[in-house]
């Protein structure tokens, strides 16, 4: 495992030759050994095509390549950090929540409308994800940032999970999500419960939820 959780807000990652990492720029706290930090022009993986894709999708969080041999400590802005191990699944996460991830993971961009069409686009607006979200797939570790501690809720067939859009951090696996809106006359006259919109996640996988309704 390349990432070790040191405290609730700090993650240590081991870097070795041939096993680079990507991390958010400016998120390095300390390092030992010979490690270099190079701002990644393409903002991640996949060459020029992916880079343009990310720029257009506004998912191009400034990343840097971390190479060499040694161990690096990451943390950012006093936010909680959480390590997610991927074993072949796909993780969907907002790019600005990415603290660091292993170079072996494939990075992509997904159009929110590809899941649920117009409803997907609206869902992106409500969760603050925008029109696009970042995907990471393959095997390796990812460290994500959250406001407050993060916990993992498993999603199994027949056991859908409903999540407050503001508390949603990321999800992995074969998961379909749908924005469910419970709009009644109370909402229309401004006497709603404050829980009108919920993300309904179904399928097989897990969703990561932060213990706060504050965005990063």
């Amino acid at each position: 495992m390349a990432f070790t959780q040191l405290t609730s807000k700090m993650v240590r990652a081991d870097v070795a030759p041939g096993r680079p990492l990507f991390s958010q720029r400016g998120a390095m706290l300390a390092y030992t050994g010979q490690v270099t930090f190079t701002p990644s022009i393409t903002g991640g993986q996949g060459g020029i095509g992916s880079m343009i894709g990310r720029r257009v999708a506004n998912e191009a969080t400034p990343l840097m390549t971390v190479e060499g041999s040694g161990s690096v400590m990451f943390g950012h802005g006093g936010h909680h950090a959480h390590v997610i191990e991927l074993t072949g699944e796909t993780l969907h996460v907002e790019s600005d929540r990415l603290l660091a991830f292993e170079g072996g993971l494939r990075q992509g961009t997904m159009f929110m409308g590809s899941q649920g069409g117009v409803m997907g686009v609206i869902r992106g607006q409500v969760t603050g994800q925008g029109l696009f979200t970042t995907t990471l797939s393959g095997s390796g570790a990812v460290a994500v940032l959250a406001h407050g501690g993060v916990f993992e809720l498993p999603i199994r067939p027949g056991a859908a999970v409903h999540v407050d859009p503001q508390a949603y951090v990321a999800h992995r696996g074969e998961v379909r999500n749908r924005l469910s809106a419970a709009v009644g006359w109370r909402e229309l006259v401004g006497r709603g419960s404050g829980e009108t919109f919920q993300l309904e996640l179904t399928g097989e996988g897990a969703v990561y939820v932060q213990a706060s309704e504050e965005k990063l």
Partner: protein, 240 residues
């Protein structure tokens, strides 16, 4: 931690921990004599405790032994008496550390309180204070403090302090701006900067204290140093 899962714990003068954390954000001092604390960091106390501002008064002798720079003395308060005193600082994480005939240098804003067995001095490095001697001190940090053994390079904002290693120096890393591609990068700004071009480097035996975020606490004034040949950052009209 005393807050067990069984419900709220009622703290009174007997159940409050003695020189230990009440929770990650508050520290309870078992006062029997004197402690020095930064102004405004006491949140509650039990017992008979007097708080003296530093200045001309009955504690002058004690202060002259423990403080070696008169100008930042105004930011410190002496707590004198007997009882339990709770310290906290804007919900930052609080930890106590023991020094046994040792030395530790810490960012001025992070130090909350210390026992009179320690003496407080200005560090040669501006903005830092050095504690020398034997005793306990209490420091605040943004997120729990992580101890790292040198050699290590640390982001300036993540550094809380260091103990025993006498080599804090600057390290610059612009390797990606060299060569032809690097030149293009530097001239055009293409690709941006990594934000990690500058670190503090520590080597030698000792411990480096890191906080887990890059958010800083406000510095408190460490006082000015006399303007003399050979004194870094010396300013005119020091009060010495």
């Amino acid at each position: 931690m005393s807050a067990a899962m069984g419900g709220p714990v009622v703290l009174d003068p007997y159940t409050l921990p003695s020189d230990d954390n009440v929770n990650p954000y508050a520290f309870s001092v078992d006062l029997n004599g004197e402690w020095f604390l930064q102004r405004g960091k006491m949140v509650a106390y039990y017992g008979r405790i007097d708080f003296h501002g530093l200045g001309h008064g009955p504690l002058d002798r004690l202060i002259s032994v423990n403080f070696h720079s008169p100008l930042h003395a105004a930011d410190w308060v002496v707590a004198q008496g007997q009882g339990k005193m709770l310290l906290a600082d804007r919900a930052f994480d609080i930890n106590s550390y023991d020094l046994a005939d040792g030395n530790l240098t810490i960012r001025s804003g992070n130090l909350l309180a210390f026992q009179p067995g320690l003496s407080l001095k200005q560090s040669i490095i501006p903005g830092f204070l050095t504690l020398i001697g034997t005793g306990k001190f209490v420091a605040a940090s943004n997120g729990a403090v992580v101890f790292v053994e040198p050699p290590v390079r640390v982001d300036p904002q993540a550094l809380v302090g260091w103990a025993d290693c006498p080599s804090p120096c600057h390290h610059y890393d612009h390797a990606y701006l060299r060569g032809v591609l690097g030149g293009v990068r530097m001239l055009t700004g293409l690709g941006g900067v990594s934000g990690e071009e500058h670190q503090f480097e520590f080597v030698g035996a000792g411990q480096v204290l890191l906080q887990s975020s890059e958010r800083l606490m406000d510095d408190i004034d460490t006082g000015v140093v006399p303007r003399q040949p050979g004194v870094p950052a010396g300013q005119p009209h020091s009060g010495l």
